[in-house]
């Protein structure tokens, strides 16, 4: 297996940003959409993660200065990515009285940092970004499907909704961590 494929699979499964690094977990817990909507909107979110993390990690590697300059650059790119999501008509609703792009901030900021921390050359960074994006998409669609299943099945009132989803996400994280051997 080539190094690029290994990194892609690792970012997609064993180091899944949503399930193992918890980035964007608030997005999963508050997203009431079913799998059909998640398939469409997940593409936009995953695409934004790929572009933001690529731009962020490349910019951070060429920027002079210390860690704080890099982190500020990540913050600026995160805000641009949020603007792009809004312009694309994604995450336009409100959740808990907050605009929903707020729920994507940790994912967009964290993905740039995680990718930069890997300290890879451009080809491998590209593979890692694609892997991270696919991982985000898989987690988003799976969470949408589980959300719908939990709504439809006769779960007890104490576990109905978010608690059952959290437990299911935990099991999914357990399954993902099984790919560490790759």
């Amino acid at each position: 297996m080539s190094q690029g494929v290994e990194i892609l699979l690792n970012q997609m499964l064993a180091e899944n940003m949503m399930l193992v690094s918890f980035l964007g977990v608030s997005l999963l817990l508050t997203g009431s959409e079913g799998p059909r909507t998640a398939i469409r909107s997940g593409l936009g979110i995953a695409g934004t993660v790929i572009v933001a993390s690529l731009v962020g990690s490349i910019l951070a590697s060429v920027l002079p200065g210390g860690e704080i300059i890099r982190l500020f650059a990540f913050l600026v790119i995160t805000l641009c990515a949020v603007g792009a999501l809004r312009a694309g008509g994604l995450l336009t609703d409100e959740r808990f009285g907050l605009p929903s792009p707020i729920f994507a901030l940790p994912l967009l900021f964290g993905s740039q940092f995680m990718l930069y921390e890997l300290q890879l050359d451009f080809e491998l960074t590209f593979a890692a970004a694609i892997g991270a994006g696919i991982g985000v998409y898989i987690a988003y669609v799976l969470a949408g499907s589980m959300n719908e299943q939990i709504r439809l099945t006769e779960t007890g009132s104490l576990m109905k909704g978010v608690p059952a989803l959290v437990l299911a996400l935990g099991l999914l994280a357990f399954a993902m961590s099984g790919f560490q051997l790759l």
Partner: protein, 211 residues
């Protein structure tokens, strides 16, 4: 669902990231509480000062920038104050821009109100944002203690296990974090439903006594 229960659920959902990512040790959790609370207070203040003069979108960006900057500064300083590893720095920086930080901002939540079609109506579903933030801080701190004690057999790096006890290492992993969060939701709902059942029983008994 009662108000207290809803407040706890709101704190757990909006603060899910710090609770999951910054609770491996009690010191990490304490750092998470400091960063998120500081960022939340300054974001709310920014919102209050700027919302009267600037458009909403600009105020939002300002609040995010302020919260992010505070979190970055906190993330760089806290490893010098507490025994936490350098790998926690990015997690602390990310914690400063999680939804719980912005509960004091949007739609007039600063005053415990929601804005609907130009009119401001009182939001009575959950407690005001400082209470939500306090509940979140409590849940994060408890998460740190529970996960560290079960996962490593220590609390604030002091050994509490008796000799020969094997810690449940799974609590140090992402799976353990999800297990804690699910258990917290379950306990909040269980407590709420028991309280509701007790109050219904008391009401029933009182009605029987009156007859």
């Amino acid at each position: 669902m009662k108000r207290t229960e809803k407040t706890f659920e709101k704190a757990l959902i909006l603060g899910a990231y710090p609770i999951l990512a910054l609770s491996t040790t009690a010191f990490e959790a304490l750092s998470g509480v400091i960063v998120t609370a500081g960022a939340a207070l300054l974001a709310a203040l920014t919102w209050k000062w700027l919302s009267a003069t600037l458009p909403k979108s600009v105020v939002w960006l300002s609040a995010i920038a302020v919260a992010g900057s505070i979190a970055l500064v906190g993330a760089l300083l806290l490893p010098y104050l507490f025994p936490i590893s350098d790998s926690v720095t990015p997690l602390l920086a990310i914690a400063g821009i999680t939804p719980i930080v912005f509960t004091g901002c949007a739609n007039g939540i600063v005053e415990g109100e929601t804005e609907k079609s130009g009119e401001r109506t009182k939001d009575t579903d959950t407690a005001s944002w400082p209470v939500v933030l306090a509940v979140f801080a409590l849940m994060l701190f408890v998460a740190g203690i529970v996960r560290e004690s079960l996962g490593s057999g220590t609390v604030f790096l002091r050994t509490i296990d008796r000799a020969g006890t094997i810690p449940a290492g799974i609590m140090n992993t992402p799976v353990g974090a999800f297990m804690y969060l699910a258990a917290a939701f379950f306990l909040v709902r269980l407590t709420g439903s028991r309280a509701a059942a007790r109050s219904a029983k008391t009401t029933h008994a009182n009605a029987g006594g009156t007859k």
